[in-house]
């Protein structure tokens, strides 16, 4: 056997375990779920077959379709707001905070990352609830006369999400900003660009791939999350993951839950295709 052939065989040997694992526990399960999404329920048993009924139902039954719309709306708002809030924070840490304090500033900015995810949503409930810290503070200051009803609304869900993703995006955007050579900004200013022009035409385009990558990650994590809307949003309006869990839990309707998951996956794929031009997933 030639050295090249031997090398290739060793290569296959090394990559095989990872591939087999993902085939067995990622691709095949997904295929099983895809097949199941075309089954339907009779009484309480699953009847396999090729029945697009679940998909028809998702797009014609208003409560189902509304969950899809809710999820997309919440996710878009969260992604945009998070980027808008995180960019200045990352920029201030990268350009205003003295070099030797930057690591600490960044570490502090993502500190709550290290609380448990479930507990973080719960903590926001304590802040936003009817008797929560925010209402007590505003009432105490006399700024409002009756407690605000934020908990169990979409606003609470969005606040909880934005909190999490501002931390994530600050990290990714900071990493991008710090890699830029200061010469770019200097050159632009030498050529007569103002502060805003420098940002608009030099810094922003150069950091765009990082921003889009972060926003895409936000989109994926946000649209698939069950905990935050379940704890903070209440049951007044459902998101797609809540609906999926509901179908599985109470209804035991695995085929419908599978179809909803496939739709969720398609939305993510669509987001991927729309942002693919700027995505750098290999350098997150």
């Amino acid at each position: 056997m030639s050295p090249a052939a031997r090398e290739r065989r060793q290569g296959w040997g090394l990559v095989a375990p990872a591939l087999i694992w993902l085939l067995a526990f990622f691709l095949i399960p997904f295929a099983v779920m895809l097949a199941l999404s075309f089954a339907h329920m009779e009484e309480r048993t699953v009847v396999h077959g090729f029945d697009p009924g679940n998909y028809v139902r998702i797009f014609t039954d208003w409560t189902m379709f509304k969950a899809l719309v809710n999820s997309i709306e919440i996710t878009l708002v969260v992604s945009v707001v998070s980027v808008i809030l995180a960019y200045p924070l990352a920029a201030i840490i990268a350009f205003r905070v003295p070099k030797r304090w930057q690591r600490l500033a960044l570490l502090l900015a993502v500190l709550p990352f290290w609380t448990s995810y479930v507990v973080r949503s719960y903590a926001w409930l304590l802040v936003l609830g009817q008797n929560g810290v925010l209402n007590k503070a505003l009432l105490g200051l006399g700024l409002i006369s009756a407690p605000l009803e934020i908990a169990a609304t979409r606003t609470a869900t969005v606040i909880g999400f934005v909190h999490f993703f501002v931390m994530l995006l600050t990290l990714t955007i900071y990493a991008n900003l710090i890699q830029l050579s200061p010469n770019y900004a200097r050159a632009a200013q030498d050529l007569g660009a103002g502060r805003f022009q420098t940002f608009r035409h030099v810094i922003l385009p150069l950091t765009l791939p990082g921003v889009v990558t972060g926003a895409f990650l936000t989109f994926v994590l946000c649209i698939g999350d069950y905990i935050t809307p379940q704890i903070l949003g209440g049951n007044n309006e459902l998101t797609l993951p809540q609906l999926i869990m509901l179908q599985m839990g109470r209804g035991g309707n695995f085929p419908l839950a599978s179809a909803l998951s496939v739709v969720l996956m398609l939305v993510v794929t669509l987001a991927y295709l729309l942002s693919a031009r700027w995505l750098r997933l290999d350098r997150v």
């Binding site: 090394l14 990559v15 502090l108 903590a123 802040v127 997933l281 290999d282």
Partner: protein, 256 residues
């Protein structure tokens, strides 16, 4: 003006970021039955309650075991695959890289649901093992990406030199590649452990009687607000911070 605005923004951002955590920790000391204002005095009774809660402590140990083992498996699989794909030109290597990275872009809910339906059909019951299998699926891409990104020419040359001197492939991996990549491997392992430790939805779907900590905390939440939840949340926070500080000191010292 701009400068003052920057500092103001920074302060506001930190306030927003720390607010829920501060509330969580402060009201874990609440000497009353509800973790909301007014603060009725300081007490450690909720910590006592949490630490003597057998279910909670069992869940904590379960979480630790699942996190450590699943991360180790993900690291080994990811490292071997990265090593092969960075070094050898294989037909379809781009496709393989895409497949290995793919689980990163799929919601964990979908991965969990897929595994649940699959395991149902082949008769595997929900358990910590099933959860661990799922956690390897979500952490493998991460371990692969981090180690793959860390492999440079410098390392390739050292590996080639070792091979020329007669080292077997296993020796190259164990004595040359792994030590040279130690910081990246440590980072990948550390991140995987934190993700697995905190992962909820897969664990929720794939466990029944033995559960992990996030699932146990979830069932505590369902019985309403209680300072006990604050206490366990604060403890998790404290431990995580401890680990981060240790990692930071460890890494900083290595750099110095």
């Amino acid at each position: 003006m701009m400068r003052a605005l920057s500092w103001l923004y920074l302060a506001a951002a930190y306030l927003f970021i720390f607010l829920p955590v501060a509330v969580l920790v402060v009201f874990s000391f609440q000497d009353g039955r509800l973790p909301v204002p007014p603060l009725q005095g300081m007490s450690l009774k909720w910590y006592e309650k949490v630490l003597s809660d057998g279910d909670l402590m069992a869940a904590l140990v379960n979480s630790l075991i699942v996190a450590l083992i699943s991360s180790a498996v993900a690291l080994v699989l990811g490292f071997l695959a990265a090593h092969a794909l960075a070094r050898v030109k294989l037909p379809g290597s781009v496709l393989m890289r895409v497949l290995i990275i793919a689980p990163m872009t799929v919601s964990t809910l979908i991965i969990g649901l897929g595994l649940l339906t699959f395991f149902n059909q082949i008769g595997i019951r929900p358990s910590l093992l099933a959860t661990g299998i799922g956690h390897v699926v979500i952490n493998l891409p991460l371990c692969f990406a981090i180690t793959y990104a860390a492999m440079g020419d410098h390392q390739k040359n050292a590996e080639r030199a070792a091979r020329d001197l007669g080292a077997s492939e296993a020796q190259v991996l164990w004595l040359v590649s792994a030590p040279m990549l130690a910081p990246a491997l440590a980072a990948a392992f550390f991140l995987s452990v934190t993700f697995s430790w905190d992962e909820f939805i897969i664990a929720f779907l794939l466990t029944r009687f033995d559960v992990t900590l996030p699932v146990e905390i979830w069932s505590m939440l369902r019985s309403g607000l209680s300072p006990a939840t604050n206490a366990i949340g604060s403890l998790v926070f404290l431990v995580s911070i401890g680990v981060v500080v240790l990692a930071e000191i460890f890494i900083l010292r290595r750099r110095a």
